[in-house]
């Protein structure tokens, strides 16, 4: 079984049209395209030089090892796993390439079919104080009737989706503009978040107050020096609870009703 990183890298290099030179269960060798070489290999001078002199630039070939136990003994390459900067870099690049998407559902039917527009957003919600936790939301909004669908990715994963509009299909123009659709979903998310009691924030608040009391008692007899205010600001930074909402990616999806 190939591991999740291996599968991710395969998808990445396929989507970015890099040619596979060799694949094993635990490694991938690819010939990069000029665009991906520029993105990943960090050699701007080379590319600058090649472009200035008209020299034919040669993108690099790289080998990534995703599982040391499943490769031939003499294979050399860059080991890659969660936590390596290389994976972070490719992941960031993949996110850049997939922040926006537009897809159409394909169904094997012989007659004309209308496709309804949906807005998809995948969201990372972070509860953050002195500790942190992320929650994933995938929300869909029907841009005709305003219906909201939760766990929308799960729905989409089961469908056959393509990037070009299929024959015999036509799209219905949205009644809700995508941008105001995002606003609606944000309002929905806000109301969901406000329903929770957020014990974590209560706890952080309490610890913050305790530490503030300690700090005050430390400087009880003095005119408060600069260090007091530095420490006080640091406590706020450490403990003040907040919720960050970030849209990871999303787009417009046209689905059969």
């Amino acid at each position: 079984m190939k591991n999740e990183i291996h599968l991710f890298l395969e998808d990445y290099f396929k989507a970015t049209e890099c040619a596979f030179l060799e694949k094993t269960e635990g490694s991938l060798s690819v010939k990069l395209t000029p665009a991906i070489d520029k993105e990943l290999m960090n050699r701007p001078f080379y590319w600058h030089y090649a472009e200035k002199t008209g020299m034919k630039a040669e993108p690099l070939s790289v080998t990534f090892i995703t599982d040391q136990t499943k490769i031939p003994a003499d294979l050399e390459g860059e080991s890659i796993h969660f936590g390596t900067p290389r994976l972070q870099q490719i992941f960031q690049s993949a996110k850049e390439h997939t922040r926006f998407i537009r897809l159409y559902e394909q169904r094997a039917t012989g007659h004309r079919q209308p496709l309804h527009p949906w807005l998809l957003i995948n969201v990372k919600v972070s509860y953050e104080a002195n500790h942190k936790k992320d929650i994933f939301y995938s929300l869909g909004l029907n841009l005709i009737n305003g219906v909201i669908q939760e766990e929308f990715m799960d729905v989409l994963n089961r469908k056959q989706l393509v990037s070009k509009i299929p024959d015999f299909s036509f799209t219905i123009t949205p009644l809700i503009k995508p941008k105001s659709g995002v606003k609606r979903l944000q309002r929905f998310l806000t109301s969901q978040l406000e329903k929770e009691n957020h014990q974590w924030a209560v706890k952080a608040q309490k610890e913050w107050e305790e530490d503030l009391l300690l700090l005050d008692s430390f400087y009880e007899d003095e005119e408060k020096p600069e260090a007091y205010f530095i420490e006080k600001a640091a406590l706020e930074k450490q403990y003040s609870p907040k919720i960050d909402v970030n849209i990871i990616n999303g787009g417009v999806i046209y689905l059969h009703s």
Partner: protein, 566 residues
Amino acid sequence: MDVEIYFDHSWEEELEKRIEQDGPWGSWPLFQSTINMERRMMVPDFEGLLAPSFLPELTALPHQLEAARRVVEEMNGKAILADEVGLGKTIEAGLVLKEYLIRGLVKKVLILAPASLVSQWAHELTTKFYIPAIAQKKFYAWDEHDIVISSIDTAKRSPHKEKIYEQDYDLVIIDEAHKLKNHKTKNYQFVRHLKKKFCLLLTATPIQNRLDEMFHLVSLLKPGHLGSEGQFSEQFKKGDRQVQNHHHLIKLMNKVMIRNRRQDTGVEWTARKVESVKVTFTEEERSLYQALEQLVRSQPDDVRSAFSLLTLQREACSSKEAVFFTLRNMAKKLNGNHLDFPESFQNALSHIQNITHNSKAEKALQLVQSINDKVIIFTEYRATQLYLQWFFKQNGITSVPFRGGFKRGKKDWMKQLFEKQAQVLIATEAGGEGLNLQFCHHVINFDLPWNPMRLEQRIGRVHRFGQTKDVCIYNFSIENTIEDRILQLLYEKIHLFEQAVGQLDDILERIDLPNMQEHLVDIFQHSKTEGELHVKMKNLEAAIELANEWKKEEERFSEERNSSIS
């Protein structure tokens, strides 16, 4: 409870643009794959450690993982990591840092370490933890890079200091933090004024026995945890040196400090084999040793107090070069900067000239030849270090020197030379910290420090994680000298060497002689004569024996109580 919610609106703006210009749109399989990765990298819970699954090549030990977990979960990222030497405090700090980076709670980090350890920190963080840490070299490093390692001596100086004060650090890590114990120093004030959300202080020196130092260190981390200075004295100090409310204090300390001992780690340790090597003075050496006493006696009273006979005699047990060096410094002090030695020095000087052999050096040579493997020799004195290097060269043994004062690059270079080419490394005391020499397992203590913690640090260079062989320690001492008596008391009477590593400070703590350290300073630094030293040692010895008896009795008592319950 209402919590502020922050939306990032950049996505929806961009979406509109993409719709207008019809793309570009991402690929669906990569989109799905990216979301899977994103979910995989999210922080699923407020608690627990994610770092280990991100570091499959790092084998962290259970006590290190537990330490990291406690720092993050229970201590809110403010902790003193005080494991015994060689248990991997750096690994614990690395785990905490990695955890916070993964969780996105930390971005901007400052690591302050002794100059000699800066490159080692950078190396460990980048290779073991995949953390892009930069050893500060350029002035602009402070705002240019997120994770910077520097020596405190550089950091506290202008213009660096001002630049650092501008930074808002999420985490500050300070290695060898016991150097911050004095709150009046520039170092302490500097650290106190850093903006820091989380903070780790690393130290191998137990701080429990020094109340004031403990107070100031904790106050750096979490001001008020031990109250204000006034409240602290009132609650915990009894007179000048005693502690009261001991248990309450320990409870408070346990909230901010983690201290693993070797025996708690559950890891099999290679053994320590300790051998005392007694060396006999030649007649000439013996007469120098005795002449030093006359020299000090012959000084007028006001001058005599500046002389430490003990120091001179301990030097005489090391090398005549060490004695000469000190005598020359004394002469300089007495005569201004004249290089002439006073008349009263001549006798001792002629004794120095008469010495043709160094008995210890010869013994060391024999030993090194018979070991026929890498050996580290520790000496307290620079002059002895230089002499030994010369002496070994004369006898066809390759050696490299090591001192605390060496620049980073030179230290790395010396370590490498020792590993690859030389048979012997000759180190002075200051060379000890942070030097990892697991590839070597023979240590010669050419002379003995009076402070047992320093000895522990010496041995800790080789007897640490990664050492696969038993470690042989040879303690040299000259018969019938002050050195002999130091060895007898500290290292034989208290059985310090036979104990598993690190139990030393355990003993010092449990003996419950507060300020053991101070007693030792008093005995070895302030005793004017061997006689005084002898008496003080006897007293300490008696106190330790008594404490040990109490301890045993206490244990017996608790055992009886346990058995009667069952």
